[in-house]
Amino acid sequence: MKVTCNDLERILRDAAPEERAAFEEHAKTCAVCAEELRSWNQISLAARELYEEWDSPALWPAIRRGLAGQADHAAEARSNWGWLTGWTPLSFGWQPAAAAALVVVLTVSAVWFLRPMPRNPGTDAGNTLLKNDALREADRAEAVYVQALDNLTAQAKPQLENPSTPLLASYREKLLVIDSAIGDLRAQAGMNPSNAHLRRALLAVYQEKQQTLEEILEAKR
C-alpha cells in the first residue's frame, strides 16, 4: 500500500491498521512526517501522565449510605403509590406530525444515498472508487439529504437559539460538534470525491445529525 505525506492528516484522523503500518514505514524515510508523528505521539504520552489516583477513604461509605437510603425510600414509595405506576399521559400536537413527515423524507433520501453503486465488470470487490455516473448520483442524493436536514434544523432552531433546559444546551453543543465533523468530512470528500469510504462516513454523520434533530423535536413535546 502506497502512502505519501499528503495522507498524514487522514492517517492521524482515522486509518485502518494496514494504512497506519504503511505510513510508519513512509515516516522512516521522511523526516517531516516522522517529526509530525513524534509530536502527535508526545501529546498522547503526556496525556497518560495526567491520570491520577488518590485515596478517598470516606467516599465509599458515603456512597453506601446514600444508596441504602435511596433504596429504602424507593421501597416505601412503591408500597404507597404502586397503583399509579401503570399510568402514562399522552399528548400530541402538530409538531410531531411534521417531524414524522420530515423523517420519511430523510429516510427515503438516505435509502437513495445508500443504494448500491453500479460496478463495472472486472473490478475487484475492494474497489472503492466511484465512477462518474455513480458520483453524480451520490452528489444529487447528498444535496436532497442536506436540504431535508436544513428543513429539520429550521424546525429545531427556536429551541436551540435560546435553550431553556440543560438538555437543549447539551443538544446544541452536540450539533456544533457534528457540524464540525461534517465540515471536515466534506472538505476531505471534496479533495477525494471518488472515495466511497469518505462518502459513507459523511452519511453516517448526516444520519447522526438527523437523529439528534429528531430528539430535539421530540423533547419539545
Binding site: 508526545q42 495526567l50 465509599w60 444508596l67
Partner: protein, 225 residues
C-alpha cells in the same frame, strides 16, 4: 509558548501506532483490582448489571472497586478539583441506582455508568460555575509545586498540557480525556456521549490539532501540505 518539553531521548521513543493500540479494549476493567476467577470482562460486566438491578448493594461496591479510581480521575479533569470529582462520583452512583431499571444492555454496563458520570460532571459544573478552587499542586504563596518526574513525558510538557486542556471546547476536552487519559476506545466514547465513532475520532483529531498549536507553534518550512 516556546516549547521545551517535546524533545524525548531516543530510548523512550514509542511508536505512535503501538501506543495508540494500547489499552483500547471494548469492556475495560482495570487490572489493578481483582476479577472473578475465570470470568471474562463482558461476563462480569453483565453479572454486575444484573446484581445491581436486583438491588444488591455488594454489586455497587464491586462496581466502585472496579471503576471508582478511574471515575475519580476522569471527573477530576472534567471538574478541576478532587473534591468536586468525589461529589460527582457519589452522585453518579446514586443516579445509577435510580436509573438501573432503564439499563437494557444497549452498551456495556461500565460504559453506561461512565455515561452517567460524564452527565453528572456536566450538571455539577453548571451548578458550581462560579466556584474556583486552588490547585492542589499550588503552594501557599501561589507558585506551582514541583511536579514529580514521570517515566515518560517531560514534566514541563505534562504541566503545559494540563493547562492547555482548559482552552479546549467542552466536547473536545471530554473526548480527549476519555481517549488519551482514561484509555477508552472510540466505540465506548461514542456510546457514552451518544455520538458516532466518526464524530469521536474527528473531535479527538481536532482537539489534538488545537493542543499541538498551543504547545508547539507551526514551523515556517518543511511541513507537509
Amino acid at each position: 509558548m516556546g516549547i521545551t518539553g517535546l524533545a524525548l531521548v531516543w530510548e523512550t521513543k514509542i511508536s505512535y501506532f503501538e501506543r495508540s493500540q494500547e489499552r483500547r479494549v471494548e469492556n475495560p476493567l482495570p487490572s489493578t483490582t481483582g476479577r472473578s476467577a475465570g470470568a471474562s470482562p463482558s461476563t462480569e460486566d453483565a453479572a454486575l448489571a444484573a446484581a445491581c438491578q436486583a438491588g444488591d448493594l455488594a454489586a455497587y461496591e464491586r462496581l466502585y472497586e472496579l471503576h471508582g479510581a478511574r471515575m475519580k480521575s476522569l471527573a477530576r479533569h472534567l471538574l478541576g478539583s478532587r473534591h468536586d470529582a468525589e461529589d460527582a462520583v457519589q452522585e453518579t452512583f446514586l443516579k445509577i441506582q435510580r436509573a438501573i431499571s432503564s439499563y437494557r444492555g444497549q452498551s456495556a454496563f461500565s460504559t453506561w455508568a461512565y455515561r452517567i458520570l460524564v452527565n453528572s460532571c456536566h450538571d455539577l459544573r453548571r451548578r458550581h460555575a462560579r466556584r474556583r478552587e486552588l490547585s492542589e499542586s499550588e503552594t501557599q504563596n501561589g507558585n506551582p509545586a514541583p511536579e514529580p518526574r514521570g517515566p515518560g513525558a517531560h514534566p514541563s510538557l505534562r504541566l503545559a498540557l494540563e493547562r492547555s486542556l482548559a482552552q479546549l471546547p467542552g466536547r473536545q476536552r471530554e473526548i480527549f480525556l476519555l481517549y488519551e487519559v482514561a484509555g477508552f476506545a472510540h466505540a465506548e466514547i461514542a456510546a457514552m456521549l451518544n455520538v458516532s465513532e466518526a464524530v469521536s475520532k474527528n473531535t479527538l483529531f481536532q482537539a489534538k490539532k488545537v493542543l499541538r498549536q498551543i504547545l508547539e507553534p507551526p514551523r515556517a518550512a518543511g511541513r507537509p501540505e
